[in-house]
């Protein structure tokens, strides 16, 4: 990353590992549980959040000196909501099939606590460029967990990836299913995501004991 100074590069790198918004800060966990039954939905959600967080961080950062502190949360909320509506309308006008796929996710972005969290914790106190990088970094960190969880849930729950069968046909009993393999229906329901996220957190903390809180 010769383009970025070491400090700036860390804005991107940290959220991917040791300061991950989902596994370390436990933010945005609701959408990570709700929409990761399919890999495609995970990827789409990650991209949508990246746009909103990247642009939103810049907007908040640009206004950071003029936002009245008493109503700053409301202002942040309005910025997110506006961006989400803009995305939704533009998609409906120019990429209608895609907007159908996204449907609920676009609206769900408003409730994603990572976005408000980064506005509040970072964009309000930092310049435009750094805020932008922070937004991209955090949405990547969020996205990578979504994709990992989506990968395992779709693979084990439905036997497919991006909708394409991986293990064969469960009804015609071909491929792996011929040997008695069954899809695990439990993986499709939201509690399974909690378990997968839990395992990721476990692996991450085992690899880096510094992350474990002391009691």
């Amino acid at each position: 990353m010769a383009l970025l100074s070491k400090k700036d590069a860390n804005l991107i790198k940290d959220p991917l590992a040791d300061n991950n918004p989902i596994t370390i800060q436990v933010l945005g966990i609701c959408s990570a549980l709700a929409i990761t039954a399919e890999l495609k939905a995970s990827v789409v959600m990650a991209i949508a959040v990246m746009f909103v967080l990247g642009v939103g961080n810049v907007v908040i950062s640009a206004m950071r000196n003029i936002i009245p502190s008493k109503i700053r949360i409301i202002v942040q909320l309005i910025v997110v909501a506006t961006l989400v509506i803009v995305v939704d309308q533009v998609l409906k006008a120019f990429a209608y099939p895609l907007s159908k796929t996204l449907s609920v996710f676009v609206g769900l972005i408003i409730t994603n606590c990572i976005i408000m969290g980064r506005f509040e914790a970072f964009a309000l106190g930092n310049g435009l460029w750094r805020s932008f990088l922070d937004g991209i970094g955090n949405s990547l960190g969020y996205g990578i967990i979504l994709v990992i969880v989506g990968f395992f849930r779709e693979l084990l729950g439905s036997g497919t990836l991006f909708g394409y069968p991986v293990f064969g046909d469960p009804i015609e009993k071909t491929g792996l299913y011929a040997f008695g393999y069954e899809n695990n229906g439990f993986m499709i329901i939201p509690p399974a995501a909690l378990i997968v996220v839990g395992i990721i957190i476990w692996v991450q903390r085992t690899r880096n004991p510094a992350l474990v809180e002391e009691n």
Binding site: A37, E38, S69, V90, Y96, I171, I188
Partner: protein
């Protein structure tokens, strides 16, 4: 230039300006794009209706492929030979029947008033299709669709869609492996207009039995499935009187 952002006056002025700015942006955007959005929605309706009667670009058994938007208008007027609106005993032709909002009509029907019910008569390869729009409730939000019948009340094809069902579960009502099961099912049980039930555990996952008024449900989507059953039943009930006039068996 340092501004005292803690003053009440400043806060109020800031809020007011923000509301005006954001409001203008959104209003501007909405008016600017509404033409295109409405056009997209109109094409989508035409695509859905054609899809139900088997006019689509499906190549394999996996994905739903509509007629492309640039030709859908032509294909629609080519295949849909008649659009009618049924109001009580009256049946009138209306070339914009497909734009009628089923949700409003169902609400009217619930209030005991006479709804205006659209029905599309299509012709493909010399065969007549009667395409009926449907509207109902899933788990989280609205679900809707189209069902194409022939004159023996056997389903020729369906299309379902939804506003916000759970991805991976109820949202899969718009997938081929769910919709394709309906083809060949009869909505009649003897002489009764029974509709089609989305049934759990009917021991017929491949849907070989086309006489049972049942298709196999989606795992983990009980309420969405029940919504589909209810929607079909309600629609069949509403259109029953007209269907009686076209039924030949």
């Amino acid at each position: 230039m340092a501004i005292n952002t803690d003053k009440n006056v400043y806060t109020v002025v800031f809020a007011a300006v923000m509301v005006i700015v954001v409001g203008s942006i959104l209003a501007f955007l909405a008016t600017g794009l509404s033409g295109r959005i409405n056009e997209n929605m109109r094409f989508e309706k035409q695509q859905n209706i054609l899809y139900a009667m088997g006019v689509n670009e499906n190549v394999d058994e996996g994905s739903v492929n509509f007629v492309p938007t640039d030709v859908v208008e032509d294909e629609f007027s080519q295949y849909i030979t008649e659009q009618i609106v049924i109001k009580g005993d009256e049946v009138v032709d209306n070339s914009e029947a497909y734009l009628i909002d089923m949700k409003k009509q169902l609400a009217l029907a619930k209030k005991g008033e006479t709804p205006e019910l659209p029905l599309f008569i299509g012709e493909k390869d010399g065969k007549k299709f009667y395409v009926i729009p449907m509207y109902g409730k899933g788990l989280w939000d609205d679900i809707w669709g189209y069902i194409a019948l022939d004159n023996t009340m056997v389903v020729q094809g369906v299309f379902f869609d939804h506003k916000g069902e759970t991805p991976g579960l109820g949202a899969n009502i718009n997938q081929r492996y769910f919709m394709d099961d309906f083809s060949g099912e009869s909505i009649m049980s003897g002489t009764r207009y029974a509709g089609i039930n989305v049934a759990k555990g009917n021991n017929d996952p491949l849907n070989n039995n086309k006489e049972d008024n049942e298709v196999d449900a989606l795992a983990g989507a009980t309420i969405t499935g029940n919504g589909v059953s209810a929607m079909i039943k309600e629609t069949v009930n509403l259109y029953k009187d007209y269907l009686k006039t076209i039924r030949t068996n």
